[in-house]
C-alpha cells in the first residue's frame, strides 16, 4: 500500500499520484545540539508542511542523541519530501516513517483538571476508573487526572469530562516506537 514511499534506491517505483492527505508519524533521531528543534520546526514552516504533534527529548544522554516524534498530515508525495528534507539536515541521523513502515505503537500522556462536587464528582471518578486514569492531585472540589493512551482515547476522555466540569488540559504529544526487537 505504501509502495510509493520507498526511498530512491530502486528504479520503477511510480504509482498513481494522489492528492489525498494521510496522517503519518515520523520518528527522527538527531544530535541534541543547540538549535536542533528550531532547525526541524523551521524546515516545516519554511516549506509549508503542517505539524500535528511534536514531541522531543534527549533519549541517549551519553551520545547526546534526541528522539523527535512528529505527526504530519500530507499527501504521499509531500511525505516523501518531508522525510528527505529532514534527512538533509546535518544533525539528523535517521528518519523513520513509522506509519509507512506499519508496525509500531504510540502513546500520549495528558493531565486533565476537572472541577465538580456531588453527583458530577462521583461520575467523574467512575469514568476515570474506566479509562484507567490516575488521580495525581485532588482537592474537595477538583481532581487532576493522568491519562495515558492513544490520542483518540485521550480525546474521548476529554470529551466525557467536558460536561462534568473540565477546567484545563495539557498533553505531551505523541511518543511512538517500532514493535519487535529491532531498534532504530
Amino acid at each position: 500500500m505504501n509502495a510509493h514511499l520507498q526511498p530512491t534506491g530502486s528504479a520503477y517505483f511510480l504509482t498513481q499520484e494522489t492528492q489525498q492527505t494521510e496522517r503519518h508519524t515520523l520518528s527522527v533521531l538527531v544530535d541534541n545540539e543547540p538549535g536542533i528543534l528550531a532547525r526541524v520546526v523551521g524546515l516545516f514552516s519554511a516549506r509549508g508542511y503542517n505539524i500535528e504533534s511534536l514531541t522531543v527529548s534527549e533519549t541517549e544522554h551519553g551520545r547526546r542523541l534526541s528522539r523527535i516524534t512528529v505527526v504530519v498530515i500530507a499527501t504521499p508525495k509531500t511525505l516523501v519530501q518531508i522525510k528527505l528534507q529532514l534527512e538533509r539536515l546535518v544533525p539528523v541521523h535517521r528518519v523513520h516513517d513509522l506509519t509507512a513502515e506499519g508496525n509500531y505503537v504510540e502513546r500520549e500522556l495528558a493531565l486533565i483538571k476537572v472541577k465538580g462536587t456531588g453527583d458530577h464528582r462521583a461520575e467523574t471518578l467512575r469514568l476515570a476508573e474506566a479509562f484507567r486514569a490516575h488521580i495525581i492531585d485532588a482537592t474537595v472540589e477538583s481532581f487532576v487526572f493522568e491519562v495515558t493512551g492513544k490520542p483518540d482515547k485521550i480525546d474521548s476522555f476529554i470529551a466525557l469530562m467536558s460536561p462534568l466540569g473540565l477546567v484545563e488540559v495539557v498533553r505531551t504529544g505523541l511518543a511512538a516506537i517500532g514493535r519487535g526487537a529491532e531498534g532504530m
Partner: protein, 589 residues
Amino acid sequence: MAEKMTGAEMVIQALADQGVEHIFGYPGGAALPIYDAMFQQDQVQHILVRHEQGATHMAEGYARSTGKPGVVLVTSGPGATNAVTGLTDALMDSIPLVCITAQVPTTLIGTDGFQECDTVGITRSCTKHNYLVKNVNDLPRVLHEAFHIATTGRPGPVVIDIPKDIQFAVGEYYKPEIETLRHASYRPQVDGDLKAIEAAVDLMLKAERPIFYTGGGVINAGPEASENLRELAELTGFPVTSTLMGLGAFPASDPQWMGMLGMHGTYEANMAMHDCDVMINIGARFDDRITGRIDAFSPNSRKIHVDIDPSSINKIIRVDVPIVGDCNRVLEEMIRIWRSKTNQPRTEAIAPWWKQVEKWRAVGSLNFKNSDTVIKPQWAIQRLYEATKKQSKEVYITTEVGQHQMWAAQHFHFDKPNHWMTSGGLGTMGYGLPAAVGVQVAHPDALVIDIAGEASVQMTMQELSTAVQYRLPIKIFILNNERMGMVRQWQDLLHGSRYAHSYSESLPDFVKLAEAYGGKGIRCENPAELDAAIAEMLDYDGPVLFDVIVEKDENCLPMIPSGKPHNEIILPDTANLGSIIDEKGRALV
C-alpha cells in the same frame, strides 16, 4: 599535535590548514581579534570589500571559477545580516562557502547588545548548516567540519558565528582527521545505485528520441564530470541541452549542443524536451524556469534523474529512474555499462530524431533584427564574444540578473566548465560585479567580464572600488537600456504595458563614475564604433566600466510564458506580447 592559541589564531590557522589563500571580508568591533591575528601572518590574504554582500558574491565567484570553497569574514549584527543575500544565493546555486561571522561576547548574547543579532537564527534557513561556538575548544573541530560540510555532498554555504570572548580565549588547536567529523549524521551518498544505473542505460539503449538535460551538478562534480559528459554524449550520439547553471559543462561548439533550455532557452532544446522519449537529467533539479507547466512537461518521456541530493528527486517532476549520487561517479558508471553493451552510438536509430531537431534548429529562435543606427543588446554580446575569442587569455564571464543575463546565456558560448558565473536560483541583481572581482582574485591573469545591466550593476557598484584597490582589471560591460528590461518585458506581457517603476531615471554618468573610482570609463552608442570600443576595453590594463547604450525596448526571446508548456514557446517574430498570457498565468512568477 595540539598547540595552545587563541580562538582568533585558530581561525587563521584553520584557514591556512585548509589551503585557503584568499578571504573576502569587512572588519568591525566584534571581529577585531580575528583581524588582529590576520595582521600578524601572511598565509591568508584578505580582500577588503565595500559591503558584506559584495564579499559573499566575490566568494561565490571565487568558488565557482576554482572549485574551491569561498571564504567570507564579517562582523556581528549588520555585517552578518548584509551577508544573508549572498548566503541564500549560494544555497540556491549549491556554491561552497564558509562564512565566519563575529558575534558579541557570550555574556552579551540575548541582551540586545550593540551590533548584536541572532545570526544563527537568521541564517538557519539560508545555509546548509551553521554553528554558534560557545567554547573555544570546540572551535578547531567546527572550523574544519564547516569546510567538510560546505564542500561535500551537495555543496552550500556554512556559517560559523564566533563570539568575541571566544576569539580571545585560549584553547588547544588541532586539525581533526576527516573521518572523525560528523560521520554519524552526515554521510552524503556519492556512488549511484548500480541497478538503477543499469536500468538507466537500458532505457538509453532503447531510446529513439533521447535528450541529455544537464545542470550545475555536473559543474559541481568537477572538471572530470564535464569530460565524462562529453564522452557519454559522444558514445551515445544523443543531443545535449543544459540549464543556465550548467553552461560550459558541454562545449557550445559541439554539433550535439542544442543551446540552453527553459524559459529563455532555444526552440530546439525546449521542443526536444517536450517531445523526447527518454530524458536523462544529470545534475539539474527541474526548476520552474525549466519545466514550465508541470502537468504538460515532457508528457511522453521516461525520465532518468541523477542528483546528489535525494530530496531533489521526485520533488517537482516524478521520474522513472532515480539515481542518487555524484554526477561524475554516475557518468563514469554509465560510460562503463554502455561500453559493455555496445560500441556503437545509436546514430541510425535516432537519425529521424536528429532530423526533427535540425528542423527546429532551422527556426533560428535566437535570431533578432539587427540595426545600423542603434546597438542591439544581443549583437553587442555577439561582438564581445567574437572579440574575446581572439584573446590568448582564459575568459570568465559573470552576469547580473535580467535580460542581459539571458542574452549572455544565449549569445556568449562556453566550451569549458567553471567559466560562467551567474545567479541562477535566487536571481540576485548585483551579483555580477563582485563575482567578477572574486574570479579575478583567483585568476589574476585571466580576462574577467561582468555582462551587466545598468539597473543591476548599481546594486553593488561600490565594489568597483575594491577592484581598483587590488588592481583587479575586471571589465564591466553594461547593456544600458535605461530600463529594468525584464521587468518592463513582463509588464508588457502581463500588465498592459503599464511601466510601474521599471525605468532608470537619474542614471549616473558611468564614464565619470568609473573615473571617480579610479577606473576607466568608455561609452558607445554607435554600432559602427562598437568593435573598436570593445577592443579599447580589452586592451586597457585595469578595471573598465563600459557603458553600451542599447535599444531600449528589445524583448528577450524566445520565451516560454508562465503557465505554458514548452511547445507554446514565444518566438522572436511574435508581434503582440500582451495577448499571450491568460488570467491564470498572470498569477505565476
